[in-house]
Assembly symmetry: C2
Homo-oligomer: 357 residues x 2
DNA sequence: AGCCAGAATGAAACCTGTTTCATGAAAACA
DNA sequence: TGTTTTCATGAAACAGGTTTCATTCTGGCT
């Protein structure tokens, strides 16, 4: 059966479609009697306006595109969850665009990620979304991908875009970001405060801006405390549990080994925990570990992870609010900084050779 | 600047919009010379067809709605990830509809979940999606919500709907589901095979069909082995780490305690692991634990979790394929059963009093 | 009674594509 | 050479709403 339209309602109510539209949107006064008649018919036929047609003239769709690299990375569902509730409250629906897909054997394919970002951008424009939020991927590269930068900058003239936790340097795009450097400082200062002097850093990707910022926070905290950063204790390239385990194991095998490890995300920290366990090293008594991101899994481990919370939900929430303002044509600050918070749990303690605090 | 339309292209190319549409869709022969001219203009102006207008006439949008209860529950990103890659391959984009939102304090709100399901259903219809997939929530209730059942059944006449891992009993809706009973049997048989006779079951929600099915698998496996299920060892109502920890702790405090625990999901199992650790009970030497779902976090724990994989990605992937077929008007089997797989890792071993296998 | 503001409503244009139907031109056939 | 196909294209209708502009009908005011 053909869905019922405003024309059907109008005919049956003996009015013009204009009037039906008016009661639908409350956009002009309609005589109570007429309105009641129309509303009754709408209910009777369970009339639902066709959003496509409506959006076509209104030039607004209430749709947003959310581009992220990998929904199975537990950091993103947190951000998304905050975004989701705020977006819904504001009346938006959103397309989820994951740039990392899996093949039939369920292996993740990273190779075409960047290509996909561009594809999605185009697709979202065709779908006439009211706004776009991007997180991760090329947005998070320290040295900007000039191609994406140009593309996104061009697009930003036509549709509001907000970048999350990334910068796309050299462009003037709106973004909401956790202060990643500060987060790293908090973590490292905590370690130093406990008496640690031999602190290793593991994980991250040198090319990514989040890594560089966290690294810079690490360095500055070390420097402020007059501590040296040992090159052989800085193991990068990786963000997974496996890598964390591998790096930590390598560190623990060194003749001189650190008393604390600062891991650039929680997954790495969980890996480090496993490595310590394998090596028979007690955490936190013999080794302190701090993670980054505060994903829910940080409390699942034994012992529970000390980590720095990026307020992921808050970031998502702000993204929605900001986008909404931009869509409404209001001005928004170019950068909204979310201040991270150190969450002290069970994986940190004074180093073995120092008397307890 | 106003986006360029087929009219702009047509005017500049000195042809009618019909011809432009033809080269756009390759729907009828166009003289090579004309085509080239039009294509050139499209590139020059970076013409992108307005998907709204197109969908309005075509009566297909390439959009799907995906309704799930909580994206931060790590089971769902797995399903979604499989769905995502298949959907993309087939040319669909999808709206993510999370029915559990968070408030400003980032606490999850479960109270309005069911109401939201209905709202989303309506919203998706207005947006003219080509299909809908639902997982969790009321779909997963053992005793069907008659209201939702009616609603969804009615909707299913107008748009393809597939239910994931749930049934909405008494209705004839298409669904793809893991064989949850079988999964439970596999898990319990594994335990029994190792020599366990004192097996507890923790977690789940009595009202949910997944729980009932898993429970039934548990019972049938026990019965087949001539083992009694002890009422005081069956602790339900909950699916979280916290609940798992609480239940396990309670079990471990009993004068007579089980040698193995079958947890209705991995989160519970992780909680059980923590409880055992707190109580100083070694896993798997003194206590075996098996989980359910095989979420990625199952390998993060120490020791790594023995669990049953529901092939979550596969479920998502099948959902997309099935929906695509339904949209194309092809017939699909009413139920597609995904067979689960037992993943033996490190949390199971023979019970302490029995000589090793 | 005459005039005017505002309320209530309809006709028609518009948004941006797709699709049907008709027509002229070129190609194929007899 | 005349006729039938096939090719190439345009005009117009259509999808389902919104919005502008014009018109009719009131009630209030002088």
């Amino acid at each position: 059966m053909r869905p019922v339209t405003v024309y059907d309602i109008a005919r049956e109510a003996n009015v013009s479609v204009a009037t039906v539209s008016r009661v639908l949107n409350n956009t002009a006064p309609v005589k109570k009697e007429t309105r009641d008649r129309i509303v009754a018919l709408m209910n009777k036929h369970q009339f639902q306006p066709n959003a496509l047609a409506r959006s076509l003239t209104r030039k607004e769709t209430g749709m947003i595109g959310f581009i992220l690299p990998d929904i199975t990375n537990p950091f993103f569902p947190e951000v998304l969850s905050g975004f989701d509730s705020e977006a819904r409250r504001l009346g938006y629906t959103y397309f989820l665009c994951d740039t990392i897909s899996t093949n039939e054997e369920n292996q993740r394919l990273y190779d075409r990620q960047y290509e996909r970002e561009s594809q999605y951008l185009g697709l979202l424009m065709e779908k006439q979304v009211d706004g776009i939020v991007m997180i991760g991927g090329r947005v998070d590269l320290a040295k900007p991908d000039p191609e994406l930068a140009r593309e996104v900058e061009e697009l930003a003239k036509r549709v509001p875009i907000v970048l999350l936790n990334g910068s796309l340097p050299k462009t003037k795009l709106n973004r909401v970001s956790a202060d990643q450097k500060l987060g790293a400082q908090l973590a490292v200062q905590h370690l130093i405060g406990l008496g640690h002097r031999d602190i290793a850093l593991i994980g991250g990707y040198a090319k990514m801006s989040n890594t560089q910022q966290r690294l810079s926070g690490f360095r500055s905290a070390m420097k402020d405390a007059g501590l040296a950063v040992r090159r052989e204790w800085t193991l990068t390239e990786g963000f997974s549990v496996e890598k964390g385990q591998e790096f930590a194991a390598r560190l623990l095998n060194m003749k001189r080994r650190p008393t604390a490890m600062f891991c650039l995300n929680d997954l790495l920290a969980i890996g480090a925990l496993k490595a310590a366990h394998r090596a028979g090293i007690a955490v936190p008594e013999e080794l302190s570990i701090v993670g980054y991101d505060d994903i829910p899994q940080a409390t699942y481990s034994i012992p529970e992870l000390t980590t720095v919370s990026l307020k992921s939900q808050e970031i998502g929430r702000q993204a929605a609010k900001t986008l909404d303002k931009m869509i409404a044509g209001k001005k928004v600050p170019a950068l909204q900084s979310i201040v991270p918070e150190l969450i002290v749990r069970e994986t940190t303690a004074p180093p073995p050779d120092v008397p307890g605090a």
